[in-house]
């Protein structure tokens, strides 16, 4: 149906939606920043006391901190300066690595995106297909069997499932790390890429499995909601076959809730990614965050929290745009 899936009409109505979302995003980043700032100050003892007394901190770093956070100034002034530095993109310096936080993150962020992106695509595709199949023959044996399994899998804690996968596949398939450590940088790109893909399979697969389980439950419900509509009867009365009814007419409408769900699920996904990364030793943002917590590397941890919130907003905007692309009613309202 080429004419039904045109490039989305991104007219004034859509522009307003996107702008609103971005404004909301800025608000959220601001709220998050404020929240973390006051959490710093609410910590027992003097802010950063743990750091300031830490023998690893050099004198320059301490001075930089005092300057940046204005620790001897009134709280509100400190707040203003903190905001200003965040707005300027200065996320501070990592205690542990002694490099700007941005530099430390630069390597890990793409790896997390690779993991999450793969898991999202696989998980949503499988989840939507499964949910649609279940909903089209609701109450049948396939629905009940696969539905039960889905509920079970969705209830498993992600870190534990990851451990089970680890247990099962250790020795049979790469279960740790990003790629084969024996491959030097002189190895051909294809070999290195293949190694990364092999290491990606299990962590992304585990995450995708969890996503499939949850998405399929929602998709099933969405499909069942869509089936009683009058236009379904029209389609049936004009002779559309069962497959067309389900996968073209019904699914196209039932996708809309799935897209919304996708946008809402990103915070949970980021959380899940943390555990997956830690268990499979995938060197992304999540394992970095956990390691930084252990190292009491506050700037790094806080930066990751802020960055995650930003991802969430981007995801929400993307979901809005996708929703408008899929639902013509939204484009013209």
């Amino acid at each position: 149906m080429a004419r039904s899936c045109p490039v989305p009409y991104l007219g004034p109505h859509m522009a307003i939606i996107v702008l609103k979302r971005l404004a909301q995003g800025l608000l959220i980043v601001w709220l998050t920043t404020t929240l973390t700032f006051f959490l710093i100050h609410a910590a027992p003892g003097e802010p950063f006391s743990g750091f300031l007394d830490d023998p690893r901190a050099t004198a320059e770093m301490r001075d930089a901190y005092r300057g940046r956070y204005g620790l001897d100034r009134p709280v509100l002034v400190q707040y203003g300066r903190f905001l200003a530095s965040v707005a300027a993109g200065n996320l501070g310096e990592s205690f542990f690595y002694r490099r700007p936080v941005a530099a430390v993150l630069a390597d890990t962020v793409p790896r997390t995106l690779l993991l999450m992106g793969t898991a999202l695509v696989l998980g949503f595709t499988a989840g939507i297909l499964l949910g649609t199949l279940q909903g089209s023959r609701a109450g049948g044996w396939f629905d009940r069997l696969s539905g039960g399994v889905a509920v079970l899998v969705a209830s498993l804690p992600d870190f534990w499932l990851a451990m089970l996968v680890l247990l099962f596949f250790a020795g049979v398939w790469p279960v740790q790390g990003f790629s084969d450590p024996t491959l030097g940088s002189t190895a051909p790109f294809a070999t290195r890429a293949l190694s990364v893909v092999r290491h990606l399979v299990l962590p992304a697969g585990t995450l995708a499995l969890l996503i499939t389980a949850t998405v399929s439950r929602y998709q099933r419900a969405a499909l069942i909601d869509v089936l009683p509509n009058a236009w379904m009867r029209t389609a049936r009365a004009k002779g559309v076959a069962r497959r067309g009814l389900m996968f073209r007419h019904a699914l196209r409408n039932a996708l809309l809730p799935a897209i919304t769900l996708g946008g809402l699920a990103i915070p949970a996904l980021l959380g899940g990614a943390v555990f997956i990364e830690v268990t499979f030793a995938w060197p992304g943002m999540g394992s970095l965050a956990v390691q930084a917590v252990g190292d009491r590397d506050y700037p790094l941890v806080l930066a990751i929290v802020l960055l995650s919130s930003a991802f969430v907003i981007v995801g929400a905007v993307a979901a809005d745009l996708a929703h408008a692309a899929a639902d013509p009613r939204q484009r013209h309202a």
Binding site: L31, L35, V151, P157, W160, P267, Y298
Partner: protein, 304 residues
């Protein structure tokens, strides 16, 4: 009400609120009779809760007492049904006490979250206008931050958390969803006849809210609380798994799983059994929450 006696309008404002009580014993019992999975889930949860409560009397060994350090971790046997952990402590006992920790923390945290969320959502839903918008923006912000990362951030800043702090933090990071549900219900109920009548007869806004509107929010609150417990259990387990749960030697299930992480190949039981317990609990909670939502009238839950 034409020709009503002068005092009767005031009496109306004082009248008992519209009857609801979705948890009235008869109604719940009916639900379980009709719905086997819900009944099984409820029974499972009851058994687990009971085991947690009676743990001190049920455990064969002291959960914190190493028994034979030389032997190390032992696989399941007649003496130790679930084996022992790396510090040679009986796993079954630790599991039972772990139930107390996991469930105890989660229930209290959810109670905190439900109270905060209900209050927030009720005020937002009832007040409407800019108050509503501002309050809901905060909720949106709260929902945008991945919970585990926020908790990790706080742990990084504050060092190890006392159990009380842990419970409070879990509660204070988990109320956003509940506030949305309550707000939706309050908004819908606010426009219904009995609420308008109560307002028209002079009852103050807070009185109308608490006595007349809020009871209708009980259903979404109940469902949100049930599902919320499941979420908190997982989050707390995750934190404990990473090493930031309650202080040793006590341990929640998550902590037990984390304990066994390094010995996964050699002593798989240390991580596997607590995981089974955790999964079973969460499964039961999810099934129960789902069925409750369906049975207590999904039509009552307005889209947040």
């Amino acid at each position: 009400m034409p020709n009503a006696a002068p005092g009767s309008l005031v009496a109306f404002a004082d009248a008992p609120p519209a009857p609801l009580a979705p948890w009235a014993p008869g109604r719940l019992a009916g639900l379980f009779r009709r719905d086997p999975p819900a009944a099984v889930a409820a029974i499972t949860l009851a058994v687990i809760a009971l085991a947690a409560l009676l743990a001190p009397w049920l455990t064969p060994y002291d959960p914190t007492q190493p028994l034979d350090m030389a032997a190390g971790a032992q696989p399941p046997s007649a003496a130790h049904w679930l084996g022992t952990d790396l510090a040679s402590r009986d796993l079954l006992s630790r599991l039972l006490f772990g139930a107390r920790v996991s469930l105890g923390i989660s229930v209290v945290a959810v109670a905190v979250a439900t109270i905060v969320g209900t209050a927030w959502g009720a005020v937002a839903g009832y007040a409407g206008g800019w108050i509503d918008r501002v309050l809901m923006h905060v909720v949106d912000a709260g929902l945008a931050i991945p919970r585990i990362l926020l908790l990790l951030g706080i742990v990084a800043l504050w060092g190890t958390l006392s159990t009380t702090s842990l419970v409070l933090l879990l509660g204070l990071t988990g109320w956003f969803g509940a506030s949305r549900l309550v707000r939706a219900e309050v908004r819908a109920t606010r426009e219904r006849d009995f609420a308008i009548a109560a307002r028209a007869s002079g009852a103050s806004p807070s009185r109308v809210l608490v006595r007349h509107v809020l009871p209708h929010a009980m259903t979404p609150m109940l469902v949100a609380a049930t599902l919320g417990v499941g979420q908190v259990v997982i989050v707390e387990a995750g934190l404990a798994f990473l090493g930031y749960g309650v202080a040793p030697p006590a341990a929640s299930w998550g902590g037990l799983i984390g304990d066994g992480r390094d010995a996964l190949g050699t002593a798989w039981w240390i991580s596997v059994f607590p995981g089974i317990a955790l999964s079973a609990t969460i499964l039961a909670i999810n099934v129960l929450g789902d069925r409750l939502r369906a049975a207590l009238g999904a039509h009552q839950l307005h889209a947040p």
